[in-house]
Symmetry: C2
Subunit: 367 residues, 2 copies
């Protein structure tokens, strides 16, 4: 195999596929990036067996072939080369030479045929949305995915397509995050549980542009995202997702509207009084025009006052400050509305259109 | 005690003194920042018993007093406050209230009298140089201080003042770094071994301006740097420094001049072939107009060619690439000259005025 590409183009491709290179594995060939130049197109591929990414890069195939190169070493070498044309050449023994100007690296490669490629499948019609929308959806919900739960379903996000509506849900034992976006087209109903790790990696390689689109297809056990010259395929999590709708209610006894930035800053400050081992709640004491926020721990205490618009009864309720912060930071609105039933029931942070609903469970407190 | 200061001014002072807050200590009061408002001036102080820093901040003393507050907590609280006036008030039981707008923190403090203050001393005439010069001197020599050597002398830098010349020297078992600067004034000879950690911390708080000066005084066992409204005092390392002059020679068999940036990039690339546990040398093969650089390890191999100006004999010599890199990166010149005697003798990187001399020992290699 012999190819030549600009360094910048190689780096662009490497940065995309690196997200699917496993950190450690027993399958050492999967720690490689596969360079496939068996056709006039050059593709780079990485696959950790849960998540696989394939991307096309610009370049010239001088002699067709495929080779697998240690991902970290290959990436490090390309990064340190001058910003010029790079020539990569492998012989029959997989010995690979990387040349750029007068610099020459020689490293061993592995047989490309041994590399497990990304599984692909065909589907008539994929769901289309902008890269910006998908990236926002992930950012606004990913924080409430359980990092490592014995119940695997909780480590994923629920994607649910119904006609022209995409709804994304994540939850852990303490909160639920729901985001809805309207699609331009109409689709048959489909739903799937997508691993949180897949979404985290894909959100790093989406351009986040409103013009660029991403196409999402589902098979029984796979999800495929196609965008630009890249394909990302991930296994789905098997199982039946929680019935979230039965947790939702629009009833409330108290509703407040508050400046989001001001509330975030205040709760953020309060976290200084909380140590990992001693989770003290922040207590919100909601009165007519002001809300008092107070936290007391063995470190010290903080209190603060924030102006609010209130409708309904006064209420005093405690929360883990981190859970409130995560939800409030995922919202872009300047003002947010919070709905309370009583001090034992979840608080809902939602907008009028239900484009977002954040449910946070309260915690008990003693005074 | 009751004082009021702008948040920004508190942050400025905290950032300076934090450099002397110990990470862990058995003397828990030394993990505090001392706020001294016993006069109309407000000073902040931290002291890890090796290094002490005291700085004056702008503010109003409403009630005189002193208090010691946990450095990390105090710093974190101030950072999270709104960018407004902050009022700090301590009662007789050292309970301290920090107020800013409607936010109020209450934390315990410690008796200021128990805090070990920064030792100070008087000297008639300190050595004066610009903050820029001192910061550069430290940056250009600190890398070859031994991080933790049983021989404590090697963990410090030698400061030597002779008439109107300041010379700073550092060394470990493999290399020597020497920098000289001319002073504006003339001084009696004085020398001292300054801990590397002190220099590392002070270089972070020097403004690096050519206009702002720093005044350096020496006592038998202390060095004091005074600049702006800040005093930094450090213990000196006891002992007799190495006789470096006897290691220096101006004889050479080969001299080359090379573009520094090009050489740095090439050596930097070669380090990809080196793992911590398998220190392979980079071999420089110096010919008439070109120098070949080559490194081979179990990972792979790299070679490269660089244009040089040469005077004297051809030579082949091996080095630890990191040691060459450190020295070459500490130099600002576009072109550097390197002097070689033979493949067993140190290489000297120096300029004509001897404003810098970097000596690097070669390593053996087999081909």
């Amino acid at each position: 195999m012999k190819i030549s590409c600009l360094k910048s183009e190689l780096i662009r491709g490497i940065n995309i596929v690196m997200k699917a290179v496993p950190v450690r594995t027993t399958l050492s060939i999967q720690e490689c990036i596969l360079i496939d130049a068996s056709t006039p197109r050059i593709t780079l591929t990485a696959n950790d067996m849960e998540l696989g990414i394939e991307t096309v890069i610009d370049g010239t195939v001088e002699k067709r072939g495929i080779i697998a190169l240690d991902a970290k070493l290959f990436s490090d070498i390309i990064r340190k080369l001058p910003d010029e044309m790079v020539v990569i050449e492998s012989d029959d023994l997989m010995n690979t030479t990387i040349r750029c100007e007068k610099a020459k690296f020689q490293i061993p490669g592995l047989e490309g045929d041994d590399f497990s490629r990304v599984p692909t499948f065909e589907q008539e019609k994929g769901v289309v949305l902008s890269q910006l929308s998908l990236r926002d959806l992930i950012r606004q919900t990913l924080f409430s995915v359980s990092a490592a739960d014995p119940n695997k379903i909780m480590t994923g996000e629920y994607f649910e397509i119904n006609d022209d509506m995409l709804r994304v849900i994540s939850l852990d034992g303490h909160r639920v995050s729901i985001r809805r976006v309207q699609l331009k087209d109409h689709y048959s109903p489909v739903s799937a549980i997508v691993p949180g790790k897949t979404l985290s990696e894909i959100s790093k390689i989406l351009t986040g542009s409103l013009e660029d689109e991403v196409n999402i297809c589902f098979s029984d056990n796979l999800i495929m995202f196609s965008f630009d010259e890249t394909i990302v395929v991930s296994r789905l999590i098997d199982g039946r997702y929680f019935n979230v709708d039965q947790m939702l209610t629009t009833d409330y006894e108290t509703r407040i509207t508050v400046n989001r930035r001001e509330l975030v800053d205040c709760i953020d400050r309060s976290t200084l009084m909380v140590r990992e081992d001693d989770r003290k709640p922040i207590i919100m004491n909601i009165g007519d025009e002001e809300m008092e926020l107070k936290i007391t721990s063995y470190i010290g205490s903080m209190d603060d006052l924030i102006s609010i618009d209130k409708e309904g009864r006064d209420i005093k309720i405690g929360f883990n400050p981190k859970y409130l912060l995560d939800a409030l930071r995922a919202i872009d609105d300047e003002e947010v509305s919070m709905y309370f039933m009583n001090s034992k029931s979840p608080c809902f942070i939602r907008d009028e259109k239900d484009s977002y609903i954040y449910l946070v469970l309260p915690v008990n407190f003693v005074e």
